[in-house]
Structures are given as C-alpha cells and as structure tokens.
Symmetry: C2
Subunit: 336 residues, 2 copies
Amino acid sequence: MAVSLKDIARRAGVSQATVSNVVNGYRPVGEATRARVQQAIDELGYTPNLSARHLRRGRTGIIALAIPELNNPYFAELADAAIRAATKRGYTLLLDYTDGDRDKELLVADGFRAQIIDGLILSAVHLNRDDIASRTSETPMVLVGEAIYHAPYDHVVIDNLAASREAMRHLIALGRRRIAFIGAHIEANRAPSLLRLRGYTEALAAAGLPFDPDLTVTTSGFGRGDGAAGMRALLTLAQPPDAVFAFNDLIALGAIRALHDHGLRVPDDVSVIGIDDVEEGRFSIPTLTTISPDKEMIGRLAVEKLLDRIEGRPAGPPAEFQPPFRLVVRESAPAA
Amino acid sequence: MAVSLKDIARRAGVSQATVSNVVNGYRPVGEATRARVQQAIDELGYTPNLSARHLRRGRTGIIALAIPELNNPYFAELADAAIRAATKRGYTLLLDYTDGDRDKELLVADGFRAQIIDGLILSAVHLNRDDIASRTSETPMVLVGEAIYHAPYDHVVIDNLAASREAMRHLIALGRRRIAFIGAHIEANRAPSLLRLRGYTEALAAAGLPFDPDLTVTTSGFGRGDGAAGMRALLTLAQPPDAVFAFNDLIALGAIRALHDHGLRVPDDVSVIGIDDVEEGRFSIPTLTTISPDKEMIGRLAVEKLLDRIEGRPAGPPAEFQPPFRLVVRESAPAA
DNA sequence: CTCGGTCTGTATAACGTTATAGAGCGAAGG
DNA sequence: CCTTCGCTCTATAACGTTATACAGACCGAG
C-alpha cells in the first residue's frame, strides 16, 4: 500500500512524470523506458492512490444511484443492473437512500456528497419539475422513473402510458368490468403515478367502461402493506371490484394477500396485475401477472448517459429514453 | 464548490491552519477568531474537499459491505441497517457484490478497492478459514454470516446451532416426524450451512427421530428457484416429508410454491419453516414461519466493530458476536 | 524582573498524483 | 553549418487538506 509513484520512478531511474505517463498513457513514452517502468511496477506491486489522483484530476470515479429504498426488490434489481454497468465502465457506484422522503431527495439532488461523486442517477418519488429546475449543484444528473418529466436532464423511463393501457387491455379482455387502481398518489406538485393512472382511465374510456372514483385508491407508500390496506378499503365497497391494476408488484402482492384473507380467490373472483416483474411474483401463490420493464436496460442506459455527460462526450440536449416493456401473463390474471 | 480552505482563511484574515482547527476541533481556537472563521464559512458555503482530506489523512471515510447479491431481500435488509449505522458514524458505505462467486470473494477480501476503502465487512459464501488466513491485505475486516468461523477477525453471526434447534423443536412439537432440510451445501472446504445442518440432525436425535439422508437436499444457490427444485426432488421420494426446514426464507418460499404445484397444502399436509424473516414472508400465502435474526443489530454491530479497528480504538482480540434471534410463528407452521 | 509554562496563532512541509513548461538531442531542411 | 522540428524525457508547480515546528503574548511563580 505504501508503494507510490516516486518509488517506481526511483527504481526505474526515471521521473515521476514518466511513470504517470506509462500508467495513464496520456503522452507517449519510449519503448525501452516503458518496459523498465512496467517492470518496476510489477515488481513493487504499485497501484495508484485514488485520493491523490482524484484530488489532482477533480474527479473521483464514483457515481451515485439514489433510490427510495432497497427493500423494494424492484430497486434492488435496478441497482444491480446499474452497478454492473458502472463497474464495466471503470466506475464505482454508490447507493444512496432517500427513504421516499422529500427532504432527503432534495438534499441528494442538491449536492449532498457532491464532493465525493462525479454524477448522480436519481430515482425520485416526491420531487417535481420545479424542485429540479431550482437545483444549484453542478454535478451531472440523470433521472430515472416516473416522478419528473420534462426536466432539463436525461431521463430514462418506460412508456408508462402505454404500459398501463396494455395492462388494462389485458384485464378488460378477460371480461372484467369493475377494475380498481391501487397506488394513486394525487398530491399537489407530485405526480409519480399520474401517467399510470391516466393509462387506467383512458383504457376504461376506450373500452366504454364507466370510471368509478371509488375504485381508485391512494396509498401512502409503495409496499405490500400499502397494497393490502388499499385492497381492504376496496372490499368495504357495496360493489367491490372484479379486478385490480396495481401501481407496482408489491402493492399487487399485498392486495392478493388481503383478498385471500377476505376469502376471495385470485384469479377466480378477482384478477390482479402489477408492474415491475420482481422475482417474487414468479413464485408467489398465485404467480403474478405483470408488466415487465427491461430493468437491465434502464440501469445500463442511465449509467451510460450519465458517463457521457461526466466525460464530456457530445450528448446533445437532454432527452427521454424509453426502454421496452412487455406483458407477462401468469396465474393472477391468466390468458382468457 | 470551488470555495476552499484558503478562501476562508483570506476572508477571515487568519491562517489556513486556524480554519482547519475550527473545522476539525483538533486544537483549541480562541472564541473571537472561531466566530469570525465560522461566519466566513457560512457566508461562502464552504465544505471540505474530501479527496484532499483523505489524501492527507490516509483514510477515505468509505467502508465496503460485500454481499453475495442484492436480490436476496435478507441482504438488502442487512445492507439497509449497515448503511444507516455507517451514515450515523460519519462514514459512507459502499456496496459490493460477489455474486456468490468464489473468485470474486477472494478478490474482495484481498484488497480489491483497498485504495478507496478504509475497511470491509464481508459476507462470504464460499471462503473458508484458510482463504481468510492467507489474506495479504492490511485493510481491517469484519466477517458477517455463516461461512467462516474461528478466523482472526471479528465475526458477527447469530447462534446458528441454537436457531436451528429451535426451528426444529417447533416442527417436532407440531407432531411432524419426517422433516426435510433443504439448502445443505456439503463441499470440500465449504461450510456455510454446516451449523444449521448440525442443528437439524441434533434436534432429530434429541427427539428420538431417525436421520434419513434422503431428506437432506443440497442446493446450488440460496434462491426461490433452488428451494422449489429441492422440494420437487423430495416429492419424488416414496415417503415424502411432512415438514420442511429450509436454510433460509427464499428457499422456504420456493418450497411452498413447489408443494402448491404438487397439490399439497401448507401447513395441512406439510409444515414449512425458514430463517431470515424477510418481509415477503409476512404477506406470502401462507405467511411464513421463520427464525428472525436481529438484522438491524447485525448490521450495526458489524459497522461498529469495523470502525473500532479502523479508528484504532482498543478492541481486544478478534471475537465473535451473537445478535439475538427469535422464532416467529405464522401460517406455514402455526402453533400446535 | 526573569524564567518556565500555557494559550493562540502562523508558516510551511508534507500526502501522491497530474499538467505544464521546458531541456536535450538527433534528424531533416535550408 | 545553423535553424527548426519532433521526440522523449525531466523538473516542478499545483490540487486542498492536515500535522509539525515555531513565534509571540500573557501569566504566575520564584
């Protein structure tokens, strides 16, 4: 650990600058000296001190991915993809939580840890366009997910409107007519689920089905417990739903559990569909029909776009990138 | 971002050293100058450059937690606890994956990223005591989990023998007599599940039940798919089991799914118990009886012990720390 | 008073790297 | 034969901290 550039320089009988050039290939070095330096490096087992390099270069080689929580397997799988992509490009990815807390999201976006990171991939829940617009930090940023649209940053997100419509079309094709939506979040300046909700209402309209406000349930979070609570609320209705379109898989799984507790069977009595395609839904009872976004591509794209900005590659104006998704039909809403 | 110590010093009309002392409190500073410096800091919005600080101090303030995979919610929850503990103590926690790959585990233990981290918390699957003993890296390390015992490092792990015995006692008290174990890993120099397996056999013996080798199933991984495959294998036996003790919750959940596919009911036909208490098991159908280790404490303790070593606090010889666990009885193996 | 000792503060040398300016030195061009 | 390159390489100044050595001022003790 204690072996530095200076040691190599002395050993090989050259200047520190030359060693640096051998290591970084920034300027050409003669064949003979290069070999001598390389040999010294191998013999002494030299690795560059990153703190020093970064102090000098102004970059750290670390990028951050800020997600609401790790306990949601969707984010765990997304983080997985992003970490792999970053590692492949020689960067280290740091995971940050926001706990779905607005203040923490603001803090992260505004340069918390800016000293340590070269760039940020932000998956926000609460922030809106204005929050993002008033950001002061210079750190490059890429947005991921549904919360913020049309901000002056690259944005990676699936076509939520199309995804929701497809999920709804599937339920409607099954002959369902009272379809509930669990997971709406209608608050001032906050629109994480607006597109999915719009896909829901538009699909109803397209099928000539009435929109019943009672069938749209807001939740405070995005977990199994929220889904279960939402479902319980729906079951108190005079006319309970015959299908559920959930904002995500965890909510769907919670809803299934609540239905089970209520003595109702899925899919016989109620069909359920989610979004995310987390692994859990491939083993749950029943298995979960869902919209499967290409998580690997989301993570990879977010990292690539961010590195383009960091490394100053010509990237053009901020754009929105839409990875593909597909409907995965399983037991909770089987083919008609 | 460009505001440095020097700027503050100039603004406050003092030396850089004094500013440093105000920031770090390393040496006393007079009340009047302290106030003046603090005001300059607030006005200019100064934050220390971490690369420079770490170059000088020789530490980075980053510790790593190396886990097999993030997709296993147990590790996600553990990581969560560790990150919170590290943040609280002023450190940043970096997550590293080993993919359950032996070479990657060796790489991580042997100082991959040693330049960037002050210490390492390693949750290994494949490494054994000899691997760890031949480690060359000087970076402080703390071990977490079942793989390695009696290595010269602090080790945080629940009492797996006691935990397994308690799980088994519960199944036996239910009247089960053919209890299977899914998730054994019997390989040369590799003993992740040895203690849990021993708890299984000892509990059988203590209850006067015969040990049937056919009822011990090895798996290649620790996921839902492995559990399902293991269960399917057990169901081909002439005398299938009437209960399953799974190495962890994911395996248990996979086993439940396989039982369901086979037309068997849990817990009526077969009781199932796991270890980990992941959130999923509180909503699955049926909900999962499990051994719940204190994950928050595991994460916190691992971080604290590591920081003790890093910061040179007197910590004594390497020791083993055993956070508590408790049996959580749910539907898959309800109270008798 | 003088001498040691505490208190505050300053000046400056590291930490290990990279970027910049320039030095030597043959070869090519006039 | 003297320039003027082009090619390697060197010397050295940063980057922003913190640690060390030291300098005054003040105070109580002798």
